[in-house]
Amino acid sequence: MDLAMQQQKAVQLRADIIKMLYLAKSGHPGGSLSSLEMMMALYYNVMKVDPKNPKWEDRDRFVLSKGHSCPALYAILADLGYFPREDLWHLRQYGCQLQGHPDCKSTPGVDVNSGSLGQGISIAGGMAIAAKYLKKDYQVYTIIGDGECQEGLVWEAAMSAAHYKLDNFTVMLDHNHLQIDGDNDQVMGLGDIMKKFEAFGFTCYKVEDGNSIEAVVEALRKPHNGKPKFICCETVKGHGVSYMENVAGWHGKAPNEAEYLQAMKELGVEIDG
């Protein structure tokens, strides 16, 4: 699929995210919409995975450390055929394989449980260490949130990633600048996040438009230089739905019927029942 088609695909996946949250009546639209293109850059362009064999031993690994953005991951996994798209409409319901936060035991294609912030990046680091010990050449990718960087565990994980020279490990930051209680800088400022990861021993790249699949792919293809890689993706929280964009209040709230219909209209996607 070429990049132009992928941007078209992003519109459909965005609509899927909104629809599943509308039907679930809860969940996290803001961060799902901001990080969608980052995950698409990975799954449609960079990662070696096989939807028919989700546990393929030599696959690249992906850990959604900011697990609350899983609607975006679920939309992609369904599109790739890991499970039927219809399952999306039962997100967060009892008995559905799509849990409120990623659960590797119930969902094909989900590599680890995540959602308790800080833990995903640390688990991913352990996977990268294991790959080195096992002499496997697969890559490990993780997406963290900016609010998540307030967790001390993120920095413990960063320190050990550099110590163990994990040049098979890429940390991507969904830098949408907002968290539940407001702007990062109001809640607990991150400071110069690029310089911080650089000081922790990462090769760092910045993507000015993290909602451009092409720009994210370009950064993902840049060299590690013998170190773990950090990619700061500047994104827009709630990207693609006008009333959600850059509004902290849409971090963890589902759209009502009117909001759902408006989002579908804006995206130009027909409601398919």
């Binding site: 449980n113 688990i123 996977m127």
Partner: protein, 311 residues
Amino acid sequence: MAEKQASRVAYGEELLAQGRINEKIVVCDADLSQSTMTCKFAKEFPDRFFNFGIAEANMVCAAAGMAHSGLIPFVSTFAIFGSARAYEQIRNSVAYTGIPVKFVLTHAGLSVGEDGGSHQTIEDIALFRTLPNMTIFVPADAIETKKMVRAAIDIDGPVYIRASRPVMPCVTEEDTPFDPYKAAVLREGKDIAIFTCGLIIDESLKAAERLAQEGIDACVVNFHTIKPFDNETAVEIANRCGAVITAEEHSVIGGLGSATAEALAGHSSAKFARVGIQDKFGSSGTPARLFHEYGIDADGIVAACKKLLAE
């Protein structure tokens, strides 16, 4: 009888022995390998030993990542930091998924001694017990520690082995069968049963000797596995003896005493009392002095047994 040895030393030896025959075993420590005795494994297998520095939360999650990659990580540090400090990581990254991370945490309980209350974990068993999928072993001695390490490798899930700092006398033999799911009677008796584990087994056996001199026939049972708990044996012995004391180097809240109470409730009318740390923190002192002051030595157990029988 075999030589006295600390459970942590036995762990270090068995870990190395198992490492030699199982390449899936990797070891994580948090700057305490000289104390947890993972240093032996580290020396022979430097490429399979990962020091995470003084960062227990990251160590636990990284070990989870290793387990997700098909390895069998052993995680060691002092029990206070490996349990309470990293608790939510153990819960969400390990127990929730049920992956085979093996926690062998050392220097548990009051027997850390002089380091004092900040380093004496009296709640670790309680914390681990509340986690679904978790297995909990408290070794009786060095011999049983080695059997537990082997059993832990065979269990397809997370395991906690509570190891101690001091040298322990041997109360089992090499050929004593170790069934992880069955408590072991160390001494038969008909008047009262002492359910115990770990370092307090020796105190309980001494207590039983002294009770015998006073005509009280005490049974001593090694409840080496706190979870899953052998409810059946607990109820059967309680109903046979009519009186049960639990004795442990742990808070009476959440440990062996609680597990026994939960097992007996509704299934036994035996008299029951718990010897353990009575909802307070530890303090500095020699292990022997602390065991005495906190009432978990032979003196304390004898007194508790007599009091219960007199009720």
